[in-house]
Amino acid sequence: MSLSSFIAKLAGATALVGLSAFSVQAQTSGEPVKIGAIVSVTGAGAGLGVPERNGLLLAEKDINAKGGIKGRPIKFIVEDDASNPDTALSKANDLIFGQKVQALLGPSLTASTVAVGGVTHANKVPQIAFTGIGPAVERERKCVAHVLPPQRLNATALLEYAKSIKATKVGVLHDAGYGNVVMAELKPLADKYGVKLVAVEKFEIGATDTTTQAAKVKASQPDAVFIIATSATPFRNVKQIQITQPVIAAIGSSSYEYVNAMGTAADNIVIPEFVVGEDPLPHQKDFVELYKKTYNSTPKNYEAAAWDAAHIIAAALNKAGADATGEKLCEAMKAPYTGVLASYNFSADDMTGIPISSFVFSKLVGGKYTRTPFRVAQ
């Protein structure tokens, strides 16, 4: 980038830090309430971690501007796990035993969440993860909540939309990581929605080309195509070989970075997600405006998830007491909560409780997000 824009970025960041410090002093006083957070700022998960950190810091400012936790400021200590579960574990140990945080937010990736959950569960530290629930062991960890939907729900949302457009034959293009997990949930559910999976093609994470797999999907003549990936490449390949059927993408592909990388392929793609910054739902408007004003960009799902997690833990602390920890804080956290992203109920079996009706179905038209009126009735 040019020198001037680099300096501008630096200045903006400094201003934000200064503003945060100032606002903490302005409205609250006393010993800060320390909450730890682990996100993937570097590495492959940076697409999740950076927006999450932004959402967290904005929420911190917001909570403190409204009086903090019973007058005391809240402070989020944010660490980077570099998209590595081993590092996440070390950071968790540091935050819990070294910094003595009362609760832990994050991590951004499933593997890190399960690794960290081993420590938070064993030491009764409440945790709100920025992932959907993972392997079976997580269901026993009653104090690890999740603010993003389980893959089962993502699969359901894809199928609901397919049913609504009367697609009975669906071709799937998915990656070996995230895609495999969603597919495991999608396959048994497909029949219920009258959907036959006529092609299921896989590509490796970080693939530089998926044209041949896309060609196999095209050859199966589907009514619609599901793309489950965390990269823009399959979208480009699908359009390049002139697949004209509607494309329905899983939430993992939904970010401005991917849309930019899709180029002209970012068209006629429907995504079941939660936050469409260009056309937010009424209860999301305030958050979107505040985010736009502060960061000069439009927020999406991960920023909102982090914002919600921060407010949930703040609400729990306000209810249970600013020094609450362990079981007491965990119980206070479990109350149903309606956030910007979705409605939650952490007492539910999937430790998330998001209903299918929380989904908003966006559509990419000419590289821009629009909100379709389609909702799933509960």
């Binding site: 680099f6 041949t212 196999k216 970075e257």
Partner: protein, 295 residues
Amino acid sequence: MTISLVLQALFAGVTNGIVYALVGMGLSAIFKGSRVINAMQGEFAVIGAMTTVLLLTKSGWPYAAAIAGGAVAGALVGAFIEVAFVRYMAAKNASEDSFLLLTIGLALSLSASILYFVGRDGHLLPPLGSEGVLIVMDAVIQFHALWLIAIGIGATLALRAFYHRTTIGLSMMAASIDADGAATTGINVARMRTFTFVLGGLLGAMGGILVTPLIGVDYQLGLNLTLKGFAAAVLGGLTNPLGAAVGGVTLGLVESLAIIGISSSYKDVVAFSVLIVIMILMPQGILGRAGRRGG
């Protein structure tokens, strides 16, 4: 399995293969000239592509000039690495593994730098020629991909001619085969090594610039390209750029044929197994003794 599907697989295989070939040729050229395995060859591609993107979008240069800028950036970074690091280490008789570690460290730094300074966005470039496609029996190939293949073949032939017919090329080969002997004939061995890295950087940048209109460039592209390019180069005998081209196309075709012939789930397993089998059956590389000798 229709003809159309096979044809599409062939199109994809050759296109990807030429991309791997371009990376592999740069790797091959650097190894040929300096015995260094360049683990950051893929990063040259990213540097070239990112520079072109920034010159085009942020500084508003015309496309042709931006491309030239990207290529020059690759060449300059190559020269810098040789002058700043390789020369020093070579004077101290560092082992081959140390050089490998050097390039690994540089690759990590560069990839992280791009994430830090440019961000996690993917970027595209406009395609060469037009946005159009060629359709043959329902199989689609972009015009840009055709340009990519043509330029890749052209680069391979040009490189071969360079090494065998130009004075600099012959000097570079001589300097790497026998440094002392070359020095006695008046060849500036150190400068030849710098040229080697310049050439490698140039080839890498070119590969990156050519592939970006198809798949986009981001901070993670480098490592994947390096691995595939390394495979292409080794298949070709490692010191023969023509071999790297053959190796790259072989790898690309094996991948896409595995997808349609076996299953997309096992593509990597099949492709790499075939790689191992080829290496065991053809220990001199695909081009045989000629590959070993350097064509």
